[in-house]
Symmetry: D2
Subunit: 311 residues, 4 copies
């Protein structure tokens, strides 16, 4: 019998891992650079698995909303990819960076072309495209996400967006720097306002697994009945998550978990098993590289116990 045909008792595996990790020390530290995020209760811990067959398994605080932060970069990339197709690759590359997520150094040698759409710089260029395209960027983007999620309960957190804007000097530096190379069309202030807003979107693990299902299920459609990306585009977004989804810990995640995924400093992680499932974990304490300590651990044990990884 081939591994992919095994019947796996997802529920008990999820419960077991959850309970064992819950008993271990909760290492790492909550991100404090955005004042509003520093207020989150660090004990939060939830996981949601959604399979292609629409089986849904939740554990812990899987229905509590949190700030998805950089996970939103996959959503903005996917919508821009849908709108502009391969033209987006003229303005952003698909290579892992080997440097921290907010590095300015590489932009200098790369003449303003960000290494990939999941670095802050790359996400800003994607945001700039969407700002140019949408009539009402913030409203239109939110509508698109709600259609993806089949839910009208998705919102920005104005408090978090303001909080990040108030301290986001490095992101302001980044956006002005890219603009100086000519790779931002709009005024940096407008692009940054959009960027800070989409980072501030709040979702639960359940909602995230649903909204990301289009990368795991080739037959997924939005509330409007449309597909999001072509099969080839879907594979390419997954490939970029695999190589670039975890900042300068992308290799480590690939090495330990073996699935394409994306993390956010709010403590969320989404991972995709193409054509099989989407799994989302949330725990606010981050390791040194800025990825959820318990989230990484959970996913590593999950792919080990289920013996499922793309490799």
């Amino acid at each position: 019998m081939k591994p992919e045909e095994k019947i796996i008792d997802y529920k008990s595996i999820l419960d077991n891992i959850y309970s064992s990790i819950s008993q271990e020390e909760n290492k790492g530290a909550i991100a404090t650079y955005i004042p509003e995020l520093a207020k989150i209760e660090s004990a939060n811990f939830g996981v949601c698995l959604l399979t292609r067959k629409n089986e849904e398994f939740g554990v812990g605080n899987w229905q509590v909303k949190f700030s998805i932060q950089s996970i939103s970069k996959v959503l903005s990339l996917s919508l821009a990819y849908q709108i502009f197709g391969d033209k987006i690759w003229e303005r952003v590359d698909v290579e892992p960076s080997g440097t921290p997520f907010n590095s300015l150094v590489q932009l200098e040698s790369d003449h303003g072309i960000p290494r990939n759409p999941f670095m802050n710089s790359g996400a800003m260029v994607i945001c700039d495209m969407l700002v140019s395209y949408y009539k009402n960027p913030k409203e239109d983007f939110l509508s698109a996400i709600r259609e993806l999620c089949h839910s009208s309960e998705i919102n920005y957190s104005e408090t978090v967006a303001k909080s990040e804007a108030s301290v986001g000097y490095r992101n302001k530096a980044l956006c002005n720097f890219i603009k100086s190379f000519g790779n931002i069309e709009n005024e940096p202030e407008e692009v940054l306002d959009f960027y800070f807003h989409i980072c501030s979107i709040e979702m639960s693990c359940q909602e995230l697994s649903r909204v990301f299902m289009f990368l795991a299920n080739p037959n997924f459609t939005t509330t409007k009945g449309t597909k999001v990306l072509s099969l080839s585009q879907t594979k390419r977004v997954n490939a970029i998550m695999q190589t670039c989804g975890f900042y300068d810990e992308s290799g480590e995640f690939s090495f330990r978990v073996g699935l394409p995924g994306k993390s956010g400093v709010g403590g969320g992680i989404v991972a995709i098993y193409p054509e099989k499932y989407c799994i989302t974990a949330w725990s606010p304490k981050l390791n040194e590289k800025g990825n959820s300590y318990r989230g990484m651990k959970f996913l590593e044990e999950f792919t080990t116990k289920t013996e499922q990884s793309i490799f």
Copy 2:
């Protein structure tokens, strides 16, 4: 029916792609920095597919030997992983570098710990481990490769090894630089001699597909009947190939081909579809990033036409 169960006519797909690419312009340039390699006939073009069920499909110059160069880095990594287990990760990281394969810059900020085992620096550290372990490093390594390949016809090219040594000042710089950080145990001269030799190994596409089968088939055994790596180790080597196998074009390969793989400046590329097959392509002309122009193209079309990729 699930995609993985489709019956695919590999032979005709291979033939079709081969014939169409053969008629296109053969772009790129042969690597000239190793004098001996510059002599290769650029029209060579071969592909070999070997499935888990041991079906073997060859096309073009698939039985002509060529210099495997950096592809050897996967073999040295795998043997060191087998011998030392996870201890190897204390001396080399698993992150994509974002810089060229022979970069010294990053080593400085990383205090002599190479980013991954497929950069020259990382491969040298792995070589240093093997030099410390083996009684007769060059002989013992060759024996191990022959056991993997089930063939005694695998040899070093002394001419190529000497040729590279005669011009390898940058590699000498790299090895001495790592030594200055204390991350090389043996004398640089000895490590470099071993390194230049394993790069000079000559194999055909057919032999490469056979020797790499241990990464595609969990049940693979050597001539001695032993396994090479555990299932978990196998997955991890594949994961590193996925994120780091193509120098600073790793993201692009992942994006376009969607399989873990490794290239060499001799024009060879090996790619793995875990639990399904190993495919090797060879064409000496390289693109700007140092990867085989036709090899990349062939593999991209192959995964597109077969609709098989890990994503």
Copy 3:
């Protein structure tokens, strides 16, 4: 007889060099990145020498005002040094940078402490100090410069300041970047407004030689009868000009001219022979490093012909 006692016919030397350089090709290119500066007539060429004994020699367009740009950085540094003393060195270093004037890279490794007060970053930190200190920064700074120059005819060019602000994304990036390290106290917008204004000051060669006399004549006093800097401070400002005054061509200027000096992208250069004279040259076409082509040439020939250099 010692060289410093020789009687030198400055007038005929100045005339001779001026006439010979005027007949040579005027190489280089006018700075175009500030739209307003691109409009300057490139044929302008003037020089003014002012000795400690108050002998004044002018040639060519020595009384035509131009945008002093980065030359203003010596004035802001000197005023901040006068106000805050050696405390300024806690926030900016005195080392040559080895990188272009607007580099962000080095700031990252130096944690927001600019290498020297003549890089854009360093000048912004100095501006930030003055903005914190002055009640009406722009007005108060201008008053201080007028007192230095013994002239009320010194003004900002609002057109140039606005022009630079409209395209100054890289400077905005720099200022926000330093702010992100905590080394800017005020809001970047306010600091940048002040910075763009002091760069826009317009002076002639004659006025520049007068305003810089405090670095050549230890007995110099302002219109209020006060000294600007102590003898030791004066020497230190001269020393910083010597090592850092010409961006990444500082060594070349030191090598060829042998005097401390400072250039601006408006095409002006001021050089100091401590305790002897101040000399200012202006010609808008810049060499590849951003320094006045004819200005550099003039000063090199001047110190060669007079056999006067600090070395």
Copy 4:
């Protein structure tokens, strides 16, 4: 009366500074990376001033020989300058580097052209020129130095040269790296052997002041009655010392001491007051930047008390 005509009681100034510094804590640490150098007695402290009029003032251990190390780079530069003239600037630049003395990073972006002849890389390129020129490089160089010093008592320390060679992996890396760019003609082994030898030369403060007199006295001649450099060349060597003589503390030395100079990790410092004097200080404990702690302090107080600096 002009400052340069003041009659200064050098002897009592030297004695006073020496005695006051001797009573302060001797901070810093002896260089330990060359095993042989680590054995030096840290209490050693000597100074020698030699004026243009041949007045010689010594204090402390001014006649004890020590390893001159990088101070030798000024001597090799001067001899190469004498032999090849301005052609040397095709292979090495004159800009301060802004990076540590043994940096490899900058060489990469500068394509193998070292920033200046006082970085290790630049000194190696100069050594390569001398190795190509001399029949017996080590013997011929030593003869030239003896002629400069008017003494046959100058020798290499074979022990120190061997000691440095045995641990000099970073220098081997540097030399091979430059060779890989084509900017070293000879085999790196031969260049390094020469380089390690000239660093190992042993001199006392007295001998160093004598050997460096050609940079302070335009009328200086060797034992053969020949001049070393032209007046213009002399000024240029002094200018390079001013901007590049103290690694990444060159600006600080210029700022505090105000004279061109050069330091070595053996704890020696030579400084030149052009046309006036040469002063040498020696104390083995180094500050964090690798320059003699007491040597820097002595020279700063000396130029402060004598009110003599080129600025």
